[in-house]
Symmetry: C2
Subunit: 168 residues, 2 copies
Amino acid sequence: MAQGDEARGPEPATVGRRGRSTAAERMLTFHARLRERGLKSTGPRDDIARVFFELSRHVSAEELYAEVKKINPHVGYATIYRTLKLLKECNLLFERHFEEGQARYEVAGEHHHDHFICERCGRIIEFENSEIERIQDSIAKHLGVLLTHHKMELYGLCAECRVKPPAP
Amino acid sequence: MAQGDEARGPEPATVGRRGRSTAAERMLTFHARLRERGLKSTGPRDDIARVFFELSRHVSAEELYAEVKKINPHVGYATIYRTLKLLKECNLLFERHFEEGQARYEVAGEHHHDHFICERCGRIIEFENSEIERIQDSIAKHLGVLLTHHKMELYGLCAECRVKPPAP
DNA sequence: CTAGTTGCAAATGTTTTGCACAAAC
DNA sequence: GTTTGTGCAAAACATTTGCAACTAG
């Protein structure tokens, strides 16, 4: 079982590596997909995409907006949402709806994974499990349904929060 | 693997049996839980709870509102939402957030189950699978986390929609 | 030049809340 | 007679959209 780990909240915009691609490589892909569709590369669009790829974690629109504002204070929420939707259509982004009011956006990686979400600190841990994938297929067969996608989410306390006192 | 099946949309308010309890039995439990908490039984509250228990499927607030209006046209949305929250606190209701904008509410049953959701007709099929529960525990152990709850959702086309032409 | 893009403000859809009145206990 | 509950309208919240001005190709 592979696992990744990332914290929410302030975090240096380090070089995010998801699978093999760097943020710069993903920008090239983004531009290519835009061209394929006859769409344009623009300043705001590039700023948002680059920040998104560089953050490379499960950001909310709000967090992304705040980060983008730092390098381009002119962009509005509408462009954030429009660009997120565009990145999704370009298959460069996954939209997740955990048990919060807002969506979280994740850089699309090579293989499917599921999530553990810490209910105290918000940390999101990714994991992969081939057994789960296999069982899902078998359930689908039993039900006679055709699967397009699926999600599995575990909720609870992460290793750190487990041992710490109830925070505030 | 056990499975249940239910369709969305108009449906006679049949006697819903989840596990062993009838709607009437659940009303008694509801009243008991209210008393424990020093809360009151009221007309609107009972109407909403009864309709919810009798429908016994994954209703949205909107659908429940419409059904309740039929027997008590006086109730407002606020009371619907307040009563849903109350039923949840009384452990008589589960709130689900599938990939739609709105929440769906389900009568709390005896054992945990997961869901398949048809992306065309909205049908929700419940299923139970002990292997999944076992694997979840093993994943939690690997991650060193403490689970409180989890969800697994499968999305796709149900057996019926699979063979039918793409509807309208 | 012209289609696509932006920012703003306003609209949307779902859920929550403030408040004066009404109903339980 | 308190305390809790209700309906209404307004607010809150995340997200989307209309539109006039702008910009990339």
